[in-house]
Amino acid sequence: MEMKEDQELYYYLKLTREFEDRVSKLHRQGKILGGVYSGKGQEAIVVGVCYGLHREDFISPIHRDMGAFLVKGVDPKLLMAQLFGKKTGLSKGKDSFLHAGDLERGIFGATSMLASTLPVATGAALKFKMKKEPHVAIAFFGEGASSRGDFHEALNFAGIHKLPVIYICENNFYAYSTPQNQQMAVEDVALRAEGYGFKGAVCSGNDLHAVMRTTHAAIDRARQGEGPTLVECKTYRYHGHSEHDQPFYRPQEELIEWESRDPIQRFEIYLEKKGYNVDQIKEETERQVKEVTDEAVRFAEESPWPEGKEALEDLYADPF
């Protein structure tokens, strides 16, 4: 990896963490309402997958994937305004959190209904194949979402048609309070791929390089017409399910173990081994991400609210 790439990757890891930490804080202060979900601890997955994608590549992030929006180039100011419910946000206040996308940047906004984006990403891949475009679709999902029929329906179709789609499972071992062994009788979600006629792969979601190696190989194969892959990244969320949740249902020791495999600290060790001046890079990056986040918060706070009657807008192309 070139130094410039290393620095960019580090920047996105740090930006995601700073941005999400700030969102958690703003939620505690009552400035961000509604359900707030943190992906803290899982940043290497979205950063590793999205780094280097084409603008036209289609991604469908889930509730923990703030970093996917940032890496794919959404202006942090607009993203923060979205979370505040301001008129300047991606959905103009219609919904919060990550329920609005930015299709110009190939980002699809999800609903809350878990796994519902998987058939949609599969359809995006179908379009790329029909039009012989060299792009890929990438669908993120939690291991919990893999229990829904939509997951299985999507993978089955992608297997039949060898579509250029990569399904990325962020397996953090819990769906809200429910541990993996209450969700499925197998250890790896990646095993499901075989039943649909394509390859599954497992990697450490806390190791940026492992994520990049595994997913980018899958992306390259998809671009060459070799069909879908299911990549499972094992990881852990540091926070509760949502910011309202006190995760009493999992052992403290487990959290500590995973914190000791922190994806950002791990990347810092890599930078150090490469002989860079890590202290300097760290200081410089922290200053940058704080500045960007401060500016985003300022923008969101100063942005206007939508007016009540705007609730009736954006329902149809030709309102009636």
Partner: protein, 326 residues
């Protein structure tokens, strides 16, 4: 000690599970967590993992499995973590459960309850605020229950669990911890299909259900104080069966009807109620039947948008005053 609406729901299930070993729970996070809203807190400890089942995220499975157990005589209570997610189980409900008795010529039944938090007003946005009753209102074979008080939440849920048909039990999440009352010590039920007259009056009838009972009552009080109008307020309690007799009797007395619900205006149950009033009480009417309901849009997140969309006391007052002038 007064009991909150959520605790009333908790207690109804707890007591029914004690009373009948065929009653059991299944849903996401109902066990270890005790439910996202704590409706089943302590159940796992009391009844064990065989009767309190933490399912995978699979609403169609949750409902389908409940149906399978119910046709063999069990009485499952299936929880939707939010009522909005009931859409993911739509086929099992409207095709499988609703037609089961019918296509077996009356020789099979589905004694099952599907419960979940519905309703807006808590910054839930598009997918944590829905009022799904109208998605099901046209489907014969289903019952739909919408309690407004803690007393009813408990009594109606017990009646639903003992009922021999599939019941959709929509709890309004806004009410969970905002209302409470003293409840009887002894076992009681509130029968499905029996409305409650929450306030008597002779000048106008408000027909409402669920959380909209409260702004309806507040508006009725203001109309009495400020306009000298005596408004009768009917809380429907259940939408299927719907207590038409109580509605018609009241409208025949007052000659004026306002229907208030949080569900959207177009396609909401208010349209059916208005039509039936016209069919049955046309000669008694002294003015148009009016509706106060959510705007015909999605339940937007941003506070000014949500406020614009939802019914409130002022919107009820404005409609009622227009009607009063007839």
């Amino acid at each position: 000690m007064p009991t909150t609406y959520i605790k009333a729901i908790h207690d109804a299930m707890f007591e029914e599970m004690k009373r009948d070993e065929n009653v059991f729970l299944l849903g996401e996070d109902v066990g270890i967590l005790g439910g996202a809203f704590k409706a089943t807190e302590g159940f796992l400890q009391e009844f064990g993992a065989e009767r309190v089942i933490d399912t995978p995220i699979a609403e169609s499975l949750i409902v389908g499995a409940a149906i399978g157990a119910a046709v063999l005589g069990m009485r499952p209570i299936a929880e939707m973590q939010f009522a909005d997610f009931i859409s993911c189980a739509y086929d099992q409900i409207i095709n499988m459960a609703a037609t089961l008795r019918y296509r077996h010529g009356g020789r099979a039944q589905v004694p099952m309850v599907i419960r979940g938090p519905s309703g807006a007003g808590v910054h839930g946005g598009l997918f944590h605020s829905q009022n799904p009753e109208s998605y099901f209102f046209s489907v014969p074979g289903l019952k739909i229950v919408t309690p407004a008080t803690a007393y009813d939440a408990k009594g109606l849920l017990k009646a639903s669990i003992r009922d021999n048909d599939p019941v959709l039990f929509f709890e309004h999440k806004y009410l969970y911890r905002r209302i409470q009352e003293e409840l009887p010590e002894e076992d009681y039920i509130v029968p499905l299909g029996k409305a409650a007259i929450r306030r008597e009056g002779s000048d106008m009838t408000f027909i409402t259900y669920s959380a909209m009972l409260y702004p309806s009552l507040a508006a009725a009080e203001r109309l009495e104080k400020e306009d000298g109008l005596h408004v009768e307020v009917i809380d429907l309690r259940s939408l299927r069966p719907l207590d038409w007799e109580t509605v018609f009797q009241s409208v025949r007395k007052t000659s004026k009807a306002v229907i208030i619900h949080e569900d959207r205006r177009t396609g909401g149950v208010g349209g059916e109620i208005a039509a039936r009033i016209v069919e049955e009480c046309f000669d008694s009417l002294d003015g148009p039947i009016v509706r106060v309901a959510s705007e015909d849009t999605h339940y937007a997140f941003s506070p000014p948008l949500e406020e614009f969309i939802l019914p409130n006391v002022d919107k009820i007052l404005a409609k009622a005053r227009t009607l009063a002038a007839y």
